[in-house]
């Protein structure tokens, strides 16, 4: 399957602050991609570079085979906090979409608004957070993009609104086969809806891959305390913790681990993401251990 996004050595700096550092990444088409990482890791920056709102400082990015450009009919974007015009009504937002997008799917847009039970005469400023997010999503999908980007769309929503938003998003993705990239720090949501995961920590991509594959190749090992360097080649230690008698490791390895002195468990997605996040925060001593 072809890639919707190809990124090579992408770097974005705001003045002296680096928001994204030397990022190289391919995102295959036809997936619902989860972009996870702590706040300030560069998720927003990566998404805004992808939709062309930002220009890279260094490196190259191709989206659907072309340099990204905001105003493209092929990419839809739901920005963080799902901004809408407070003074415009729901119906006027749809009219805005219809005026500005040649490929506007009025049936889809009107149908969604009716299904959600939104009053078209309601001003967007008076909508609840969940309704506003749904309106922003409607605008983004009714232009019928090939790639849909969402920046923390559910972060500010209550659990019910969050579920309803994801239901709408998933049924759209199921019907139209659109590739979706969605950032979030709520791993529980991503676990349901994503089949591809990118973990971004401290402005670097830590890991990217299909969720199934990631879950299949990451293991939690626990056993008597020892140096993780003994594990042998082809096994990357992602996270480790030691007590005076015990060592617990999170290891990435495509081959099964057969050493009987370890007790081996699988990981769920949340543990996996947390392991990568804590890796970034490890102290200097541990890094030396890793090198050896």
């Amino acid at each position: 399957m072809s890639d919707v996004v190809t990124i090579k050595g992408l770097t974005k700096k705001y003045g002296r602050r680096t928001a994204l550092a030397d990022c190289t990444l391919d995102i295959p088409a036809g997936h619902v991609v989860g972009l996870v990482g702590p706040n300030g890791a560069g998720k927003s920056t990566l998404l805004q570079l992808t939709c062309g709102l930002l220009a890279p400082t260094e490196g190259a990015i191709e989206v659907l085979g072309a340099a990204p450009m905001s105003g493209s009919p092929r990419v839809g974007f739901v920005a963080q906090d799902t901004p809408v015009y407070a003074g415009l009504t729901v119906a006027e937002h749809l009219r805005l979409g219809a005026h500005l997008n040649p490929g506007w799917d009025a049936t889809l847009a009107d149908g969604r608004i009716a299904e959600l039970g939104l009053d078209p005469r309601q001003r967007a400023g008076k909508l609840s957070g969940g309704q506003r997010a749904q309106l922003a999503l409607t605008l983004a999908i009714a232009k019928r993009p090939e790639l849909l980007l969402l920046d923390e769309p559910v972060a500010a929503l209550d659990p019910l609104a969050r579920r309803e938003f994801l239901q709408g998003l998933m049924s759209y993705a199921a019907e139209h086969g659109t590739s979706v990239v969605m950032s979030s720090h709520l791993v529980a949501d991503l676990e349901r809806v994503c089949d591809y995961l990118i973990v971004l920590v401290a402005s670097r991509v830590r890991v990217a891959g299909e969720v199934e594959e990631l879950l299949g190749t990451h293991h939690r090992l626990s056993g008597a305390r020892r140096d993780p360097g003994e594990l042998g080649p082809g096994r990357d230690v992602i996270a480790e913790s030691h007590t005076d008698v015990q060592s617990t490791l999170v290891v990435r390895s495509s081959a099964p681990i057969e050493d009987p002195s370890w007790s081996v468990d699988g990981l769920n997605l949340e543990d996996l993401v947390l392991a990568y996040m804590s890796e970034a925060g490890r102290s200097g001593r541990d890094r030396v251990l890793e090198k050896r």
């Binding site: 105003g71 901004p83 809408v84 500005l100």
Partner: protein, 335 residues
């Protein structure tokens, strides 16, 4: 895009349109009285100095609020660029950036360049229309007063509220406000800075570049006591004299009276003739014997339209450059 521009702009547009309409209506209602007085006092038909007609007109013009209508019209016309800059220009991009809605609208199928171009052109045209209409009515209504008054309309006090330059100021204020909003990204800050910007541009013209737009006329004439405009003796017995400009209603750029040595004349004054001891006639007669020459640089009232078009040109070129900068900046720098 045009629909969206209008939808987002219509409230501000109606407010200022209502203001302009109110002023225009006021002036139209007052116009018959004004032009009736202009005719009845003989000022309209008069050619030449018309001293007595002017005085008669000036005496009666305040009756029935004609002068009040004139002041309101001129004041609103001077204020219009500030209103347009602060309420049309500054919020245009700043409000989108502040509320994050630029991320919504720029991800529709419309390039940022086109988005801004439509807004610039559309609202810019409305700004020209509003200020042009108001200036037309104010300029027409003020003709009698400009003729009767001491100040010509070429002088700084009146120049900016007559003719075609109000359109230039309105447009510059609009684009300037837009640029300031885009750079500061904060609505309130942008509105405040825009107000400063508009005031500075309106002051920069009379005190900065306007006098360089046309070549002033220079006059040099022998001292005549009858033309004394001001005469002032300071405690150190230094005298400063200014004579009236040879052309009525002109904009005087420099006015000095020089002595026989060619330098500005400051005395010393004969204390027995001028000052506390002598009367004015004695002093004038004494001064007439000192070989003084009055040198005055001025822009005559006839230069009004040439100056108007040139200043409009300067304003339009500045506005054009500023617009080009905005279009470049929004494509490259804003996110």
């Amino acid at each position: 895009m045009i629909w969206l521009t209008w939808r987002q702009f219509r409230v501000q547009a109606w407010v200022i349109a209502a203001l302009v309409a109110a002023v225009v209506a006021t002036l139209l209602v007052a116009a018959p009285g004004m032009f009736g007085l202009y005719r009845d006092t003989g000022l309209a038909a008069c050619t030449g100095a018309c001293e007595s007609a002017s005085v008669a007109f000036a005496k009666q013009v305040d009756n029935g609020g004609l002068f009040g209508a004139y002041l309101v019209g001129s004041a609103v016309l001077l204020l219009l660029p500030a209103l347009i800059g602060v309420f049309w220009g500054a919020p245009l991009v700043a409000r989108e950036l502040e509320s994050g809605t630029h991320r919504l609208v720029w991800n529709q199928t419309v390039s940022r360049g086109r988005w801004l171009t439509v807004k610039l052109a559309g609202i810019g045209a409305v700004a020209i229309l509003a200020s042009g209409l108001l200036s037309l009515v104010v300029t027409w209504f003020s003709v009698p007063i400009d003729r009767a008054g001491d100040f010509g309309r070429v002088t700084p006090l009146l120049f900016s509220s007559r003719g075609v330059v109000p359109m230039g100021y309105a447009l510059l204020a609009f684009v300037g406000g837009l640029a300031i909003g885009m750079l500061t990204r904060r609505l309130v800050v942008a509105m405040a800075l825009t107000l400063v910007f508009v005031v500075v541009t309106q002051l920069a013209a009379p005190f900065g570049f306007r006098e360089h737009l046309v070549t002033p006329t220079s006059s040099s004439s022998a001292f005549e006591a009858g033309r004394i405009q001001s005469l002032w003796i300071d405690p150190e017995n230094r005298i400063t004299i200014q004579l009236e400009s040879p052309a009525h209603s002109s904009w005087v750029l420099s006015n000095v009276t020089v002595g026989p040595d060619g330098k500005e004349y400051h005395g010393p004054v004969d204390g027995t003739k001028c000052g506390r001891a002598g009367g004015p006639d004695e002093c004038h007669a004494w001064l007439a014997q000192q070989g003084l020459v009055s040198k005055i640089d001025y822009i005559p009232a006839e230069g009004f339209w040439a100056l108007q078009w040139r200043e409009l040109g300067v304003l339009l070129v500045t506005t054009g450059l500023l617009s080009a900068f905005c279009l470049w900046w929004i494509r490259r720098r804003v996110s």
